[in-house]
């Protein structure tokens, strides 16, 4: 376990902070007036510096200190978050990472260079008044209702409430109301005691703890409540009493508008949730937990089967109770493993920024649905495929600005990443507004590589699937960014491995859209349990389109050709009995399960459809690595093992058979 080593914890923490810093910097580059990314960046730097020096990362801490100072000045409006400054900060962030991960291997000259540029930028770069104004109006704040009543003798003890109010006002926009209801009549008034309480509506980017710190010396004797108030704050001040103005400038108006709704506000909102109540758990423990829950689900399935014959109502009721509990536990456990795709999408801001500079293309990356959650393991494995797809879009999809203008498009290219739920799947879309896929080139290339017979009739979707074929690349000129013919086939393999699907659509001149369909988790899937001969198999439910009966005359009519007419469309089908070499005699009435992968549909002939089965996925042994037809195994209610069909492989096999028959 990693729990014991504080410097390791610091490294992990620093990695997260640096990621947050990068995201914040890229946000800031887009919207230099935003307050929140600035604060996020500052906090990340501040923590890295502070914790770094505490855990012996002196080099990182002292380097970070300079950057922190610059960001502090930006927060105070003394420096502007210029693109040049962001560029330096990004380079500095990379350098900090090296200083933490491999202090000995850090390039001191590079570090000094960054600091020199930082100093250059920091000097004399005054912030314009309008920018200053923008900063003050920035969103991403929280509002708090702070009420406090000092101990009656607080004034005698030297506490000055005006200074406390001043301190609160320094934290943000504060509206101060004196609560004077408890002031006694003049004849009873003891002038040395404090009879007034205050209510302050404070809109600040500081956390609650900073507000509490204002009261640090009096907190034991003071009635203090700090509660969040939703923005916008209604203007209640007037109803409650006179606004205290003596000695104080008029309170700054509380912003009337909530944080301006922005298309890309998702992650900020999510991050605004207090993170204080979270704990850090090594990923392996979650894996272990998921394993155990999987066992429980299986054990329960067995129990349920055993109990189904019992007449003992008490046992039945306990079994049902256990079912409820184990389902709940399963859902919670799966939930724990879920992380928002923002953690994945966020990485691509930097990628797009760097690539667009490298390629000299002006590209805007937009996102939606970043709050959509996916299994953590899945998120990790999606990184590389998405990098490939985005690179392709930038490199091949988006045209140079001149071409875009000539085509009547805005010079700035757009790439949009989105994620959304669709049933038990998550759909992740990468869309560009580039030139679109070149059908003729794809066809020519495929014919040249003999992937398709010359002149073959293919739908667009079928044609586009060819780009995922190993070795297939249509790029005219190989660039350092993509090309080299690797990539899209790897993307396809990875997504298949995740039990995902890929669909491509493209409009000439209008752009390309790649949609990944992904299961929520790698651990459990909904499956359709079928029987072939005496063996039972699980077909992932997401791939199942429908189940139909195999017409008894189908073989006669088609003279041995394995095609089925499904509402006018010819669908090839595979007899799993043949594929699996089953010798047991077939059932009289065979069923066909129609499955789809991408745009292709294949029918699977089975002896019996047994029904839905929630499947805890067990990986296959290394000894079965060569067995292509199955992506895993599961354990059924009676304790026996059933194999899970690998949809992509089965469909490919169906297609091969299809082509063989066509050829003969």
């Amino acid at each position: 376990m990693t729990g014991a080593d504080p410097s390791q914890i610091f490294r992990e923490e620093a990695a997260e902070l640096l990621a947050a810093l990068e995201t914040a910097l890229l946000h800031l580059e887009q919207r230099p007036a935003d307050r929140e990314p600035l604060d996020t960046a500052f906090r990340a730097l501040h923590t890295i510096k502070g914790s770094g020096s505490m855990f012996g990362f002196e080099a990182a801490a002292s380097f970070t200190h300079h950057l922190e100072s610059a960001f502090d000045r930006m927060r105070k409006g003394e420096l502007a978050a210029t693109p040049a400054m962001i560029g330096i900060a990004l380079a500095a962030k990379d350098h900090i990472r090296v200083l933490i991960d491999d202090p000995a291997g850090a390039d001191a000259a590079a570090g000094a260079g960054i600091l020199a540029r930082l100093a250059e930028q920091s000097d004399g770069a005054a912030m314009s008044a309008s920018l200053r104004q923008d900063l003050d109006d920035a969103d991403g704040r929280a509002s708090w209702r702070v009420r406090f009543r000092l101990a009656p003798d607080a004034l005698e003890r030297g506490t000055n409430p005006l200074l406390l109010l001043d301190e609160l006002r320094e934290l943000g926009d504060a509206g101060v109301v004196a609560l004077t209801g408890d002031i006694p009549p003049l004849e009873e008034l003891e002038p040395t005691l404090c009879h007034v309480a205050w209510e302050v509506i404070l809109t600040t980017t500081h956390p609650r703890s900073t507000i509490e710190d204002v009261f640090i010396f009096v907190i034991d004797e003071t009635e203090l409540t700090i509660e969040p108030v939703p923005v916008p704050v209604p203007e209640r001040e007037a109803e409650q009493g006179p606004v205290m103005t003596a000695d104080l400038p008029a309170p700054a108006p509380v912003p009337r508008e909530p944080a301006a709704p922005k298309a890309e506000a998702g992650p900020e909102k999510a991050k605004a949730q207090p993170a204080a109540n979270s704990i850090r758990v090594p990923a392996e423990r979650l894996d272990d937990l998921m394993d155990q829950v999987g066992e429980l689900v299986i054990a329960h399935a067995r129990l349920k089967q055993l109990v189904s014959d019992s007449v003992d109502l008490q046992i039945k009721s306990v079994t049902e109770e256990i079912e409820r509990l184990s389902n709940g536990l399963r859902d919670i456990t799966m939930g724990i493993r879920m992380v928002p795709v923002e953690s994945l999408f966020g990485r691509f801001r930097r990628l797009v920024r760097d690539l667009s500079q490298e390629l000299g293309k002006d590209v805007a990356l937009t996102m939606s649905g970043e709050e959509t959650e996916l299994d953590k393991t899945m998120i990790e494995r999606l990184n590389d495929p998405l990098v490939h797809i985005i690179r392709n879009s930038l490199d091949h999809g988006l045209e140079p600005a001149a071409d875009r203008v000539a085509a009547g498009k805005p010079p700035q290219g757009r790439i949009h990443l989105s994620a959304r739920h669709a049933g038990t799947r998550v759909l992740m879309t990468i869309r560009d507004d580039g030139r679109g896929l070149d059908r003729d080139r794809i066809r020519a290339k495929a014919e040249e590589q003999e992937l398709i017979p010359p002149g073959a009739k293919l739908s667009d979707a079928e044609l586009f699937q060819l780009i995922f074929h190993p070795g297939f690349s249509t790029a005219r000129a190989l660039t350092s960014v993509s090309g080299r013919g690797i990539g899209m086939d790897v993307v396809k393999r990875t997504i298949d491995g995740l039990r995902g699907t890929i669909e491509v659509s493209s409009t000439p001149g209008g752009g390309t859209e790649i949609t990944l369909g992904l299961p929520l988790t790698l651990a459990i899937i909904d499956g359709l349990l079928v029987r072939v001969g005496q063996g039972r198999y699980v077909i992932p439910l997401f791939a199942v389109e429908e189940c139909v009966e195999l017409p008894p005359d189908v073989e006669r009519r088609h003279a041995g050709r394995n095609f089925l007419n499904i509402r006018g469309a010819l669908v090839p089908f595979l007899r799993l009995r043949d594929s699996f070499g089953v010798r047991h005699p077939p059932d009289l009435y065979q069923k066909i399960v129609i499955i789809s992968s991408g745009d292709r549909r294949v029918g699977l002939v089975v002896d019996q459809v047994l029904g839905d089965h929630q499947t805890v996925i067990k990986s296959m042994s290394k000894l079965h690595a060569d067995v292509a037809s199955f992506s895993g195994a599961t354990i059924l209610g009676d304790g026996s093992v059933a194999l899970i069909l690998d949809i992509a492989q089965i469909v490919a096999a169906g297609q091969v058979q299809d082509q063989r028959r066509e050829a003969s």
Binding site: G535, F580, K622, H624, A633, L643
Partner: protein, 150 residues
Amino acid sequence: MAVTDTRSFEALTLGLGGEIFAIDANSVHEILDVVPQTEVPGAPPLVGRLINVRGKVVPLADLRIRFGMDCTPPTIDTRIVVVEILLDDEPTVVGLLADKVHEVTSIAGASIEDTPDIGMRWNPDLIKGIGKRGDDFIVIPDIVRIFTTH
């Protein structure tokens, strides 16, 4: 080419196709009665089936196939010996079918002889050596090689 292992070791002896085999007792997880088995279409015959061992899906190997022995149907004595072996440095759990499980015994290094190159009815590459116990010969199979060579 057989390698002679000169160290003595604790071995589990089991009957397989009329011969006595010895496997390292330290690698044995447990011994099971015959459990339901699932055929894996397209898998090599050596590991053509899967079993459920305490919630884990484990391949079941029939070593008799590798040694060219008759695959007789299971009897009342048939057992599954669950062992853990290192394949490419990765611990892998496999069930081994045994016609009968005899005992755990110590096989002295001195009693292990080089595999005779001739006079064996199976591939000498697949065994580490021949041990002797009383008048009986004991075959010491090279489990890892059995699974990694074809």
